[in-house]
Amino acid sequence: MGKRVSLAWLFGINLFISAFTFGGGYVVVPMIRKYYVEKKGLFDERELMDLAACAQSSPGAVAVNLAAVTGYRVAGRKGMLIGCVGAVIPPLVILTVISFFYAAFSENQIVRAVLRGMEAGVCALVVDVVIDMGRAVFQEKNRLLDILLPAAFVLVFFLQVNVVLVIAGSAAASFAAGWLARRKRNGTAV
């Protein structure tokens, strides 16, 4: 399992990440990279992509799935539970509180201004991580992967194709391509 971390660290870091991920599940990926990969060296960037792929291929909130699967990766079943609980507590508490003060909160000009600025910052974070991960995928020099990455982007962003179809399609395509390549190799060997 590689390096181990304490459950207290895992709980704390998940609370912290969850409390500051404005703008949806994908912002968790750069946060995980910063603390699990760069600071603690618990796994490398390639494995982060594997974990993100599992979290995204499953239903529900990607942020919580990722907290669970990274927790499982670094500390087994206990880690999965602690990662989840840590990730769920901040929104649970914040939303309970905010629902009482919703009107005042949403009409405050400064609150709105800060959130608009953060929206732009969040975009920069996600684009930054896409550049690094995209580069890592293209470095594998696999023609199928070079097609799958931009295809997923175009299908979902421009054509609004259902994400389940894109994930299922890419799984089927990569399995078929690998199978065909192996058959061809075996064929020429005989």
Partner: protein, 189 residues
Amino acid sequence: MELLFSLLGNFLQVGLFSFGGGYATIPLIQEYIVEGQGWLTYQELTDILTISQMTPGPIAVNTSTFVGTRIAGFPGAVFATVGCVLPGVLMSVALYYFFRKYNGIQGVSDVLAGLRATSVGLIAAAAGSILLIALTGSSELGQGSGIGAATAGVFAGMLFMLRKWKWSPMLVMAVSGGLGALLFGVLGL
């Protein structure tokens, strides 16, 4: 008690069928929570989406907390939230376990490699959507009110700091929030 299990059951279904995260949850919340159970009005659903924009945390968890609290207090929030996160959490860990265990089998590692590339494409698509909303105020291409120069400036500045100086995500959030207060709040852009 019956109510708590009803919350759990309905949110389990929301959690089980909402592939794609984030906005993919909305149609399921409509089907099960708004139309099916009448636990939420459309106006309240819109309010929750606005709150979700402004606070951390996934839309699914925010909705389950809000609905659960209203229907059955704090225990309701816990049951509803457990319901909506459980299917995804179990499935992602099961997938990871499966891929790691059978990674020696060529077919399995082919699929994982493909999913890895697709996952980056999906993150890129999400980046495109949130960038579009931040810059034009609309999630549809060509529907917004032009590109906000101040927002574009904050985005470009933060991206530069990330690439060139390796700023931490927290620093980016703090600085972009501060710039937002200055540009949109004080200067009124």
